[in-house]
Symmetry: D2
Subunit: 296 residues, 4 copies
């Protein structure tokens, strides 16, 4: 028997996620800034709310998947504020990729009104979301996580619990994105070295993806970087920079220098200077090739 | 029906490789600087040569697996010089990890006397060598590679051909080691950020190794770095620095800046300054943690 | 014959500057958050205002020297807002070190009410301020700068005009601070290399300061870094980090990668991780020495 | 009354230096690889030797100013070897810019035959050499330095003594060149930031050279970098890279990480990839500008 769930944020990720919750037998009241995106869900049984705050009742459950920190803060603490509406006993499962500091602040906002924030960011692209193949990292108070568990299981292939500090899962998520970006830069450098020595970039990427690095990040991005195929964008380059900047800001707050993240930031800024805002974030790897004088 | 093969270099890698060739029916004449290491092979049918040059006859086949560029150069071009002994029609399968420039020079030495150098460096530790699980990258003239193929197949699980430029496989090998080191540094930074935010390092490494980075490098080194378990050394830290320096020298010759390699070099030098020469090269990741003030 | 001038911000820099304006025959109405700091000026003829907005009249002249961007924004656009009070024809000479973006935004706030913002940040420590030895960089609309000129001349030894773009002088100021920090880091690295080679750090600093680098930055900071004398702080380390972060944010907005600034940021963050918040910003140079294993 | 001096190396620096020694009343026997360059000195009283070893007699004094480490090693330890000819009591004043390790090794070669090596590298361009305006750093055994002192005083405006470790002055010299290169890179970054913000590069360089950085390096190179005037080359870019590589090799031997030197190496390599081998080494600053997308 399903739960009553409010769902806010029907972008490329949120829409298939909401559809999966409906398919699992949950009852959804949904809202999206651009209301037309909610309509397909209406046919699947979702109720469309006029305002975000109307997706939930006091003590209920909310799932949010919005664009960035500002949108999440506006949702939770804006006017009308969802946290207040949620009130005593309410649970907010926040699945967006945001800064740990944002989660920390908003968790406090929830606590003050008796509700609980659970962080549950995901790894995976829209196609993985549609196929329930997301990897979900979760953190927050145990009781609220227990309530969230069946919802998360309806959305992904695996849930990883990172304890009771609410923002922990956000730290994990941005660390993962940082590691992907670091791998892309390293491949960019290695492939430039190979190319200048007459070694075929694709052959190198293919070998690595079948051996030492037989995993999704090196296989997918390795092929894209080897062939310089950065369009259409699966994840736009400015979003990659945004995430690296969240990493650096978090590292700053924690007094943890991260020179690889600094290098990545410089590379992303360079990519913007070269007019690459519409390319996939894997285009960050072009910098190493250009530094080597390969500009065709 | 096996081949007559000379085999030079019976270290941790070379010894199990030679044993595998014997087990595959090849006839070996072996030599090692420290002769006692050759004795176990005697009982398996190998002939022990008094000098390296005595392992082969004119026009024969040699496999070498020696410590470094200097040892390989001494072997090929020293006194007596193996290349001359090998002479017209001889084939030298060079499996050591050396600089592309060294291979380029030695290929020329072979060419002058009518023999052929084939580069065939490997990925894998001694246990992988013993289990014929090595990944082998090969490059050089096609005819010589054809002769080498059954020998390489007796040594590894997969052979990747990188074309006719002799040093190409060496470029691939050092690129692979560079990518491993870059991944270790990135994990060191990410795990330091996590630790300072109260996130469990091992839980993070474990999740990554099951999802985005479900591949040997991130699984094995991820666990080691998360737990700061860098002893006993599978690959000693100064050898890691040696390989990064080969990368940087090759990049210099090719006019390809590699800022991640520069960062790695600084980290390895720091590790030596901290007295870590006997640790595994994954200890390079300790630098990021110390930079964050975590010094216990 | 002097001018009527409002003066806000009587910190270590502002206080001697205000005293110099009084000594030059100008009439000052002053305000400071901590009012007691204003009292010494009272004896020199200054009028003490109850609120910042009371230091000026419509169409008058204001000089501000406050702590940071937030304080300046609060002053200009808070409640009551100085810009509105200043009104048509008023001139605000903003001498604080702030981000160019802050100046750009506040210039617009002034423009809307008919007044003009002039940026006039300074180079020099409190002793230079007291001795009228400041170097002042100025930018903004020409007419307003003409009014500001005699005031600036009463405060420093030299005024450098950087044109009509209001925030230009702020770009110059943060560039200068960046160059100082870059020089300190480079000295830290060079002196560590020297020390590990048995060369006397002080002798090296002294020679450089008499030859290639016979200028204030290398002489003063060179001696401090050579002798690791970072206390008492002339300019506290977190302020140095603040300025480097302004540089990086400005560089980000301009799509200009600055790898040396990224390195500096990492070094400052490391210094904070080591508990050096109360030291002079020249303590950023300790990082290079520690990286070399010199930790006594 | 002058001394009998052998002088080897009559390049752009050596020639005016030798002329100054003659003008000071010393008697010179000179040699240069390209003998025609020695001829102008013949008219000033110098004796031209047929071979380098013929410039000195046993127990005499030699001054050398050659191109690089290889040339110096060949001179001292080649065939015929100058060190042997110099023999018991001889003094060799080595003024070339070479690696400390080279000096250390050659000092030992001298010691074995009873002679003494004194390191005395110089700061200054050919015009400074001609005007006796060189700054000279000296190190080595005290007695030999005492003999060298009047010779050095005839060559420069100031002699700085760095003690008895022979290679100390070489460490100082490469540290100085490193600091110059670091300053050039930092200016390149600052000027790119300024340019993208509409600030005049030359005005910025000029202000800095009159204030914080009123010293030769920032004044001269600042103007060159602001105006992108890198030709004709006063010091060719590949020589700058050579010196940075000496710094990094020395830092490696001393286990001292130098991230700014690593960055410089990457920038110099990039400059070579862009075909700038014939420009002045200050062209290293172009990299920061291009990274910001300014490619006109």
């Amino acid at each position: 028997m399903g739960l009553e769930i409010g769902f806010v944020g029907l972008g490329n990720m949120g829409l298939p996620m909401a559809a999966n919750l409906l398919a699992s037998g949950h009852r959804l009241t949904v809202w999206n800034r651009t209301q037309s995106r909610a309509e397909p869900l209406s046919g699947k049984g979702a109720t469309i709310a006029p305002r975000a705050a109307d997706t939930i009742r006091r003590g209920g459950v909310l799932v949010s998947m919005v664009a960035d920190d500002a949108a999440l803060t506006e949702l939770v603490a804006g006017d009308p504020a969802l946290a207040e509406r949620l009130g005593q006993g309410g649970i907010h499962i926040s699945m967006s990729t945001v800064a740990p500091a944002t989660t920390r602040e908003l968790a406090e906002v929830h606590r003050k009104v008796g509700s609980t924030l659970v962080a549950a960011p995901v790894f995976g692209r829209p196609d993985a979301a549609a196929a329930k193949r997301l990897w979900i990292c979760v953190s927050g108070p145990a009781a609220a996580k227990a309530t969230a568990q069946p919802i998360l299981e309806a959305l992904g292939q695996r849930v990883f619990d990172f304890g009771e500090v609410t923002e922990a899962a956000n730290v994990v998520k941005i660390s993962g994105n940082f590691l992907i970006a670091a791998a892309m830069e390293a491949m960019g450098e290695a492939f430039a070295l190979a190319e200048k020595n007459g070694v075929d970039r694709s052959a190198l990427a293919s070998m690595l993806g079948q051996t030492l690095f037989a995993c999704p990040v090196y296989q997918g991005y390795g092929a894209a970087i080897a062939n310089r195929r950065h369009s259409p964008a699966g994840f736009r380059l400015p979003l990659g920079l945004k995430d690296v900047e969240i990493v650096l800001r978090s590292a700053r707050e924690a007094n943890a220098p991260m020179p690889t993240a600094s290098l990545l930031r410089d590379r992303f800024v360079h990519a913007l200077a070269m007019g690459r805002a519409d390319l996939d974030w894997s285009a960050v790897a072009l910098g190493a090739r250009e530094d080597a004088g390969l500009t065709d």
